[in-house]
Subunit: 214 residues, 2 copies
DNA sequence: GTCTTTGATGTTAGTCACTAACATCAAAGT
DNA sequence: ACTTTGATGTTAGTGACTAACATCAAAGAC
């Protein structure tokens, strides 16, 4: 059992192209079936079958049926965006401004897939819990960053939890609306929801208060 | 099938004392077993058995295994507290002040049971989703109240979602701490978390900004 | 080109949350 | 006593997972 390559010691193995293809097929089949017949009415075995694979293989790629819908690796981006805000800002302002920056410009193709998934979540009550379990990961990551900069843990939890809640409200609201309406712009919806927590300064017109500084 | 009593027309039936006893036994057995051997390691059938009843009966009283832990009917209290705040206040301030008022003074016996349950949730990752599914009910109720008063639906969702997130952060933080420490006061923890969103005015010392008014 | 290794997949069998259909029991009213 | 009706039990089934073990297929060693 000799190790023939350093790479094998670093990680168990980088995912093979075969594995990646299977995973992609599962995600595609899941989105398709969920949209056509509903999330609850679709079994994991059925998704696996549509992807030309076994139920067992499905669960080797995704720990739960929900996770096939929610496997975005955006956390590092958010953590970086929040961390980039001045450490002198209060925690809530740092978090809100960080998320604001991160969601300012989203590539159009990303918007499309976010929309499909969020629509499914919005109209499937049993998936709400999954969203929050997913948010928990993100929350932990951002909280760790704030705490590392000296923020009180409770304050950090409250600030990040509240901000992610507002963001989630925006996403669900946006996904639930019809595309036809003119007001269904994702970035704008996110901005409106976040400004409930921290008003923006870079805006024409009067603001309620001086803003976020000490 | 004649109706012999007006009461029978109001509700299918008021829960009999027998039903109430069974329900209480299930809750007690669940809390006990969950604390002793963990939530995940305890099956619904086991809880039912400890309560002297069948698994089927368990699910007749609680739609899911989680709900045996989370059956508090506090929603109307919160809705009333938020509704009681002046309609001229911005939505976030109304919500935060409402929750603040509702959690200001909690009877000591209620604190004890909230603590037991919240501790379980805090140390059981698989229960996090349940908390949010529970919060969703409360969120809907409070949002409806705000929207009825003319608040924009997206703004209402963001405000209420964020506030409940901060409150939940406070509860989890408080339940996770050891009782020994002096700072483990529930009401104070809630106040600290909520003041991240809206600073209080009734406080000595300088505040960052004018507060919540227009 | 064989040989070998190793990760990806299949097979089987089992647990547990939950549901539906039907039978029974016990209390409460007549 | 008789009847009604809600609470409970019984049985059987589905679907989300998990564990143990067997197999297959691609990538490298020779």
């Amino acid at each position: 059992m000799l190790v023939t390559n350093i790479k094998d010691m670093v990680a168990p193995s980088s995912p093979s192209s075969r594995s990646l293809r299977t995973r992609a097929a599962l995600v595609a089949a899941a989105l398709d079936l969920f949209e056509r017949q509903g999330y609850d009415a679709t079994s994991a075995a059925q998704v696996a079958g549509a992807a030309g694979v076994t139920e067992m293989t499905f669960f080797r790629h995704f720990p739960t049926k929900e996770q096939v819908l929610l496997d975005d690796p955006y956390d590092p981006v958010l953590v970086a965006a929040v961390g980039a805000r001045p450490r002198t800002d209060p925690p809530l302002a740092r978090t809100v401004d960080g998320l604001r920056a991160a969601w300012q410009d989203i590539p159009d193709d990303a918007v499309a897939v976010v929309r499909r998934r969020t629509r499914l979540v919005a109209r499937t009550p049993s998936l709400r819990g999954a969203v929050w379990r997913n948010n928990a990961r993100t929350e932990d990551a951002v909280v760790d960053r704030l705490v590392a900069d000296g923020t009180d843990p409770l304050v950090a939890r409250a600030a990040v939890g509240a901000t992610l809640a507002a963001l989630t409200a925006a996403l669900l609201h946006w996904a639930d609306a019809d595309d036809l309406a003119g007001g269904s712009d994702l970035a704008d919806t996110v901005r409106r929801a976040l400004s409930v927590l921290v008003p923006r300064l870079d805006r024409t017109g009067p603001t309620t208060c001086g803003g976020r500084g000490a």
